[in-house]
């Protein structure tokens, strides 16, 4: 019983996690570079031209994985926040903190590519579509989290306050999504429907899958690199960090 617990919590200490994070970061950087390279090649040269949307649709291979990642990362952050509140582990909060900028970046990327896609397809940069609006609100939630995080100087209070904010946010996300969706259908007899092509060509699906996995690897690589920086900054007075710094110089 006890040995199982030791295995679980061994890496919840920043000192033991720090070297592991480096390994994970290096491996997933390689994976990310390879997968995204393959994915980009396939999305530009292999995937066939869409019969309705022409070449412009190719932005979907960045747009959709970015949207998925932005939503998924928020959930992961909330999961870390809950873990941190329950077990009072410092590393959980650091992980949430390290993930936030990546999630916000993906939310922004999804909006940006979406508007680049919208311009040639719908003739407008922005539509108050339910999904676009929810994505925008998700970006606001990310920004709120990061703002709260950076406004609190005391790291312990910052951890727990931002964890509560994340949990409140995650409860609200479905409510926001459905209210926006309903608002949208009531307001405009929406002429534009995104993603009507329920049947996708196989190579397209495969390309999107590869890109998604590549974005996953990228997120892991970046957040691990960032969590290392966070650990060093937070634990700067700990002995092992001092020894590390002395060993370097």
């Amino acid at each position: 019983m006890s040995s199982r617990f030791i295995n679980w919590f061994k890496f919840s200490s920043p000192a033991t996690f720090y070297p592991l994070a480096r390994k994970i970061s290096v491996v997933s950087t390689v994976v990310a570079v390879v997968l995204i390279a393959i994915g980009l090649y396939m999305s530009f040269f292999v995937a066939p031209t869409d019969y309705k949307q022409g070449e412009g649709y190719r932005i979907i291979f960045v747009h959709v994985p970015a949207s998925w990642m932005s939503m998924f990362i928020y959930l992961v952050m909330a999961g870390w926040a809950a873990l941190g509140l329950v077990f009072n582990t410092r590393l959980s909060a650091m992980m949430a903190q390290a993930l936030a900028p990546t999630g916000a970046m993906f939310a922004f990327l999804s909006l940006w590519t979406g508007s680049f896609w919208g311009k040639p397809m719908w003739g407008t940069w922005w539509v108050w579509d339910a999904r676009i609006t929810s994505e925008l609100i998700l970006l606001f939630l990310y920004l709120g989290y990061m703002a709260l995080r950076s406004a609190i100087d005391d790291p312990r209070r910052g951890d727990r306050a931002s964890a509560i904010l994340l949990l409140v946010g995650v409860v609200n996300v479905p409510i926001i999504y459905y209210s926006v969706k309903w608002w949208n259908t009531l307001h405009q007899g929406s002429t534009i429907r995104m993603n009507q092509e329920t049947t996708m060509e196989e190579t397209m699906l495969l390309t999107m899958l590869i890109m998604t996995l590549g974005f996953w690897a990228y997120s892991i690589a970046v957040s691990m690199a960032r969590v290392r920086a966070v650990i060093l900054e937070r634990e700067r007075s700990a002995n092992w960090v001092r020894e590390l710094a002395e060993g370097r110089t």
Partner: protein, 222 residues
């Protein structure tokens, strides 16, 4: 069980009545913001009637958000809040009392003045009625959700702006259904379903928000 609730509401109301200017500041802000829009958009009655629900609701949203900081800040500064957390009563109950008192002071006046502002926008009687009912159901939710943000940003630098950043995205469902209820009444669809949803959100946040606020207060006073 409910006695501390009564006392905390009574206490907060007494304090608020002795600092009446705070109440009026929120109210006047609401009136001014709502009156600014016709000046920016133009006095065309048709346009104004169309945008009235949204304008009044956004005004109410901003006004109640501005008032949020007052929920805990004074008690935090003089240490009362810390003593409240030490009492044997459940913190969530005390929080609910404080939020209710805050709503009575800052939310109810908005609800009362809203029909007058609606008249400025030439809303019909039915629409005014829907506006009052939707605000009556919606503003307590705003106070409840806002209290979480107020507790999280308690005593921080730049607390006010930060509070807006945290709370406004969470207000979106209330805004949608609140303004939607009035709009549906205007267009003849009937705002019943919107009002039911507003009520549902109110009940859910009445249960959940005080718990989150209590947790946030514990963190802030730690």
């Amino acid at each position: 069980m409910l006695e501390p609730l009564y006392w905390i509401i009574r206490r907060d109301l007494t304090i608020a009545m002795r600092r009446r200017s705070d109440v009026f500041t929120t109210l006047i802000f609401f009136v001014i913001v709502v009156s600014l829009f016709p000046l920016g958009i133009g006095p065309e009655p048709g346009t104004l009637r169309l945008i009235a629900p949204g304008i009044v609701w956004v005004g109410a949203l901003l006004a109640s958000m501005l008032a949020l900081e007052q929920i805990f800040s004074a008690d935090h500064r003089d240490g009362t809040l810390e003593q409240m957390l030490l009492t044997p009563q459940p913190v969530a109950l005390l929080v609910a009392g404080k939020v209710l008192a805050h709503w009575l002071v800052s939310g109810v006046p908005l609800v009362i003045i809203a029909p007058l502002l609606g008249l400025q926008y030439d809303l019909s009687m039915d629409a005014l009625q829907a506006l009052v009912i939707s605000l009556l159901l919606g503003t307590p939710t705003l106070s409840l959700i806002g209290a979480i943000g107020a507790a999280l940003t308690l005593g921080l630098r730049s607390g006010g702006v930060l509070l807006a950043l945290l709370v406004l995205p969470l207000y979106i469902p209330v805004l949608i259904f609140g303004a939607g209820a009035v709009e549906a009444t205007v267009s003849g669809l009937g705002g019943q379903s919107h009002l039911s949803l507003l009520g549902a959100i109110l009940v859910a946040s009445l249960v959940l928000a005080p718990l989150a606020t209590a947790a946030a207060l514990r963190v802030a006073e730690d």
